[in-house]
């Protein structure tokens, strides 16, 4: 193969073609590296999880209602952890989705340019705060406040986690849905205004529905971040592995379980393998979330 750095005059079109193909190969190689990493991580998770099911039935793991990894009668039931993750995520979604949609609409459709230029970077700064700082704030400030306002014995509960995670999801949801709203052609808005619709009607009935795919993807990607978040929930949700449907109960998420218990369990024990099984389940959930978001974004791009 010719050196691409060769200075000798040669048949240029051919050299260009080879260069192009080489660049393509390098890029394809890099791209497949990331795919390979993804695949290997999943294979590793599954490989480390599988030995659990030699000593503990798969069915009891998936449908078990108790997580008691260190008692004499060990239980590795996934359901309480799933319930914890679900409750915290649901709460975060209920808070974050309307809030971020409102902010995105305001920033893209209403705010004057100067306010937009302040607000958007400001919101994006929220993403730069380390999650441990959110957790610290939740333990010290928010927990005490919740305790006082709602008369609780402890402010470390699912609600606390939901509030913080909603704030953490805001940058993703606002930025991506604002991008989707701004991508709606100006001609749609003009058509609506020219028919005698008000600016507000145009926003709700034309701009938002036209951006629906991108907005849905923004919400799902934001929730993906919520499901995967570890440090904050570990610090503020109280970590009781119980099945509860009250936001004022202490819950424990899948991520917090792995983070809290991995350091304490002995290598190669069923507990160790059970934590990997939890990790594999979490991976599957976030993978599905991201895949759905990706499909929606692509559909949005097609218009």
């Amino acid at each position: 193969m010719r050196s691409t750095l060769s200075l000798r005059p040669g048949p240029r079109p051919r050299r260009r073609a080879t260069e192009g193909r080489q660049a393509e190969l390098v890029l394809a190689g890099l791209a497949s590296c990331s795919l390979l990493a993804l695949g290997l991580i999943f294979v590793f998770l599954v490989k480390e999880a599988l030995p659990l099911f030699k000593s503990y039935p798969f069915e009891d793991f998936v449908r078990g209602l108790e997580w008691q990894p260190t008692s004499t009668n060990v239980r590795f039931g996934l359901v309480p952890l799933l319930a914890g993750t679900f409750l915290v995520t649901l709460g975060a979604a209920v808070i974050a989705v309307p809030l971020s949609l409102g902010v995105a609409l305001f920033v893209s459709e209403v705010a004057p340019k100067r306010i937009r230029e302040l607000l958007k970077p400001g919101l994006e700064l929220l993403a730069a705060i380390p999650s441990v700082v959110y957790g610290f704030f939740g333990m010290v400030v928010l927990a005490r406040w919740l305790q006082g306002v709602f008369g609780l014995t402890s402010g470390l509960n699912a609600f606390n986690g939901s509030i913080l995670l909603a704030v953490m999801a805001l940058p993703t949801m606002v930025t991506l849905s604002e991008d989707a709203l701004r991508a709606v052609p100006e001609s749609y808005r003009n058509a609506s205004l020219a028919m005698g619709a008000s600016r507000w009607e145009t926003m709700i009935h034309v701009t938002l529905p036209s951006a629906r795919a991108g907005v849905a993807a923004a919400v799902i990607l934001g929730l993906g971040r919520v499901i995967g978040e570890t440090m904050t929930v570990l610090m503020v949700t109280g970590n009781a592995a119980q099945i509860s449907f009250s936001f004022f109960d202490s819950v424990r998420t899948m991520t917090a379980t792995i983070a809290a218990e991995m350091a304490e369990c002995a290598w190669g024990t069923p507990h160790y393998h059970a934590l990997f099984a939890v990790g594999a389940a979490l991976f599957l959930i976030t993978f599905v979330f991201n895949a759905v978001a990706d499909i929606l974004l692509r559909r949005g791009a097609r218009g």
Binding site: Y188, A191, H205
Partner: protein, 268 residues
Amino acid sequence: MPPTVTIRGARGDTETARRIKIRIEGLSVWYGSLPAIKDVTVDFGANRVTALIGPSGCGKSTFLRALNRMNEVLPGVRTAGRVLLDGRDIYGPGMDPVEIRAKVGMVFQRPNPFPFSIFDNVAYGPRRHGVTSRSELYAIVERSLHEAALWEEVADRLRSPALNLSGGQQQRLCIARALAVEPEVLLMDEPASALDPVATGRVEDLIAELARNYTIIIVTHNMQQAARVSETTGFFLHGELIEYGPTDQMFTRPKDPRTEAYITGRFG
């Protein structure tokens, strides 16, 4: 014409056909400090097609957008003078631009259907103006699509996406969408410039048809088109209305040397 068309006033009557629909007195428009329209005074007759011609940047689109207050959507636009629609100044105190735009509809240069179904596109305007009954909406959609000469082509797929239609069909859909609001005046900003010759022909036939019920003002780049569709033509240059009169006279015996220079192709 379908029998469901609403009769507004005594349309078609020769007396009212001479009626003045829009009277413009000393209209000027500025973009910031830049004058785009300079002191234009003109009358537009009801139920006829008026074409506005002129080279790019002469202000004819800005002028058109002044007639339904769409210039206000852009920042930094200032308007002076009076635009009387049936004798009422649309820039007068207490006039609501939203109400005016329902009476003065607009069709844009590029077809711009919403990414919704064909039905929802046409039903959009009526829904905003408070029509909720399904049967009523359906009747409006059917009537508007008939009026826009599109019904035959889409009757069996009202629920399919509007963006799947061809460019010419999309533009006729946009016309139907504008008609569904029951406007009195229809402003068209180069409605055929993005279409192929066949689709252009269909839109031009449609314009002639619509003039029976609507007052139509059309901006066009294409002088043959102005000659084909309009009874009256106005020639704009550098924001001024240079000449205004019957179309055949304008194209055969223009009064102003600048009009003659433009239509014989010496500039523009």
